[in-house]
C-alpha cells in the first residue's frame, strides 16, 4: 500500500509539473484505454449499480436518503479540515471544524446537517485540490475501473486522503459492517445522480462529456467556485474581434422544411 502510494506520488510529480490545461484540451494520452474502461464502467452501471440505485431510491424516503448523504459527508470533514489548513485557509478550516463538531453531536452523528442551518455551509477540500491550489497541474486524465474519472494529480490526492478518513482507523475495516457501509454509500451516491442520467444520454459522446465536466468541476473546486475568467483559446490567425469574417445570422427555417443539405 505504502509502496503504491510512493510510486504514485513519483509518477504524478513527474508529469504534473506541467501547468493546468483547459478542459476542452486536456492531456489524455491514454484515451483508448480510458474509453475501454469507460465502456466497462457504463456496462457495470447499467446492469448492476443503476438498477440497485433505482430500487433503493424508490423504497427509501427522500429525507432518509438525505440523512445518509449527510452522514457520509460528515465523515469527510476531517479531510476538508486538513486540506483547508494545507492551503492556509485557516478560517475555512475553522468553519469545517465547526461543522464536524456540530453535526457529529447536535446533528445526531452526522445524519442531520444542522451546521448549514446556522450558516456553516458545506465546503469541500481534498488533497487533489490542495495540490492544484499550489499550482500542480492535472497531468493525464484517467478513467479508473469502477471509481470513475480522475487525473494523475487527483489519484494521488485520493490515495492520500484515505489516511484522514476516520473509517481507515477502524479496527475491523474489512468486516461485514464496514463493507456494508461502503455499499450503502456507493448506492446512495449513485441514487443522487439518477437525475443526471438524462443529461448524459443527450450527449453525442458521453466519454468526452464526462471528461470535460469532471475537469471543469475540479478546476472550479480548486478556485472555491470562482475560477479565473479565462478567454477561450482561439487560433492566433483569427483575432476574436473580426466582424468582417463573421457569418450572417438568419432566422430559423421552418422545422417542417429543413434547410437544403448539399451532398
Amino acid at each position: 500500500m505504502r509502496l503504491v502510494g510512493i510510486s504514485l506520488l513519483i509518477a504524478t510529480l513527474a508529469v504534473a509539473g506541467c501547468a493546468h490545461r483547459p478542459a476542452d484540451d486536456p492531456a489524455d494520452p491514454l484515451e483508448p484505454v480510458n474509453r475501454a474502461v469507460f465502456k466497462f464502467n457504463e456496462t457495470a452501471d447499467k446492469y448492476a449499480l443503476r438498477p440497485v440505485a433505482k430500487v433503493y431510491a424508490d423504497i427509501t424516503p427522500a429525507p432518509a436518503r438525505q440523512g445518509i448523504t449527510n452522514f457520509f459527508d460528515n465523515l469527510q470533514e476531517p479531510r476538508n479540515i486538513v486540506n483547508a489548513i494545507l492551503q492556509a485557509k485557516f478560517v475555512q478550516a475553522g468553519k469545517n471544524l465547526g461543522r464536524l463538531l456540530l453535526n457529529s453531536t447536535a446533528g445526531l452523528a452526522g445524519f442531520v446537517d444542522v451546521a448549514t442551518e446556522v450558516g456553516l455551509e458545506k465546503h469541500e477540500e481534498g488533497l487533489g485540490q490542495t495540490l492544484g491550489y499550489w499550482g500542480v497541474g492535472e497531468g493525464w486524465y484517467l478513467m479508473l475501473p469502477l471509481l470513475g474519472p480522475s487525473t494523475n494529480r487527483d489519484l494521488v490526492g485520493f490515495a492520500g486522503d484515505s489516511f484522514v478518513n476516520p473509517s481507515f482507523y477502524l479496527p475491523g475495516r474489512y468486516d461485514v459492517y464496514s463493507i456494508s457501509a461502503n455499499a450503502v454509500n456507493l448506492v446512495n451516491t449513485r441514487a443522487n445522480f439518477l437525475a443526471a442520467d438524462g443529461i448524459l444520454q443527450q450527449q453525442f459522446d458521453r466519454y468526452l462529456f464526462v471528461r470535460t465536466a469532471y475537469l471543469q468541476q475540479r478546476w472550479n473546486l480548486i478556485h472555491d467556485g470562482n475560477p479565473p475568467l479565462e478567454g477561450f483559446e482561439l487560433p492566433p490567425d483569427e483575432p476574436i474581434d473580426a466582424p468582417t469574417s463573421n457569418p450572417q445570422v438568419t432566422p430559423l427555417a421552418p422545422a417542417s422544411e429543413p434547410a437544403e443539405a448539399p451532398k
Partner: protein, 208 residues
Amino acid sequence: MLKRLFALLVLAVGVNATATAATTPDQALRGTTEQIQKQIQANYKDYRADLNKFYGVVDQVVVPRFDVPYIAQLVLATNYAAATPDQRTRFANSFKNMLVRAYANAMLDNYDSIQIEWLPVRPSDDGKTALVNTSMKSGSGKAYAIGFRVRKVADDWKVFDIVVENLSLITNFRTQLNAEIKKNGLENVIVRMEKGDFVDTATNTGGK
C-alpha cells in the same frame, strides 16, 4: 433536465429586439426577461399550436442577445480557420437553430414557473467581458447556479457562453463537436446539424 435548465436560461436572457443599449451587463439581460415571458404569456396557445411561430419570436427576441458568430468561432476553435465563409455561416445558423429547436418546448413549459435571483456581476480585468451570475429556481424548487458570460459588442452586452452549475456550454460543445468533426469532417457535421440529427438526440433521449 438539461433541456429544462436551458429553457430557464434562454428565458432569462430574452430581450426586446428594439431595446436600446443597456449600460450594465445585468441590466442588458435583466429587464428583458419579462419581455419574452410577456410574449409567451400573451400568445401561449398560438405558440403551442404553431411552433414555427414561436421559433420566429425566439429568433427576434432572444437570439439578438447572443453573439452567434462569435459563439460559432469559439465552438469550432481550430476548425474555424479551415472553414470556408459559407461553412462558417451554415455552421453558425445550424448550431443556433439546433439549440432553438431542442429547447423551444421546454421554454414554453417553464416560462411562468421559474424564479431568477440576480447575483453580483463579475467584470473581467480588462472590462471587455463579464460574468452575470444567477440562481434559478425551477417549479420543483431546486435552485441551479447559472452564469452568463457576456462581452461588449458595439456598446451592448452579448452572451457568448452559458455556465450551468460550473459547466460551460461552449466547452462542452467544443469538445464533442470537434471530435465529431475530426472523425467525419466539418461538412458532414454541418449537414447533419442542418438535417436536425443532433436535435433528435437531444429531444428524444433527454429524459422528461
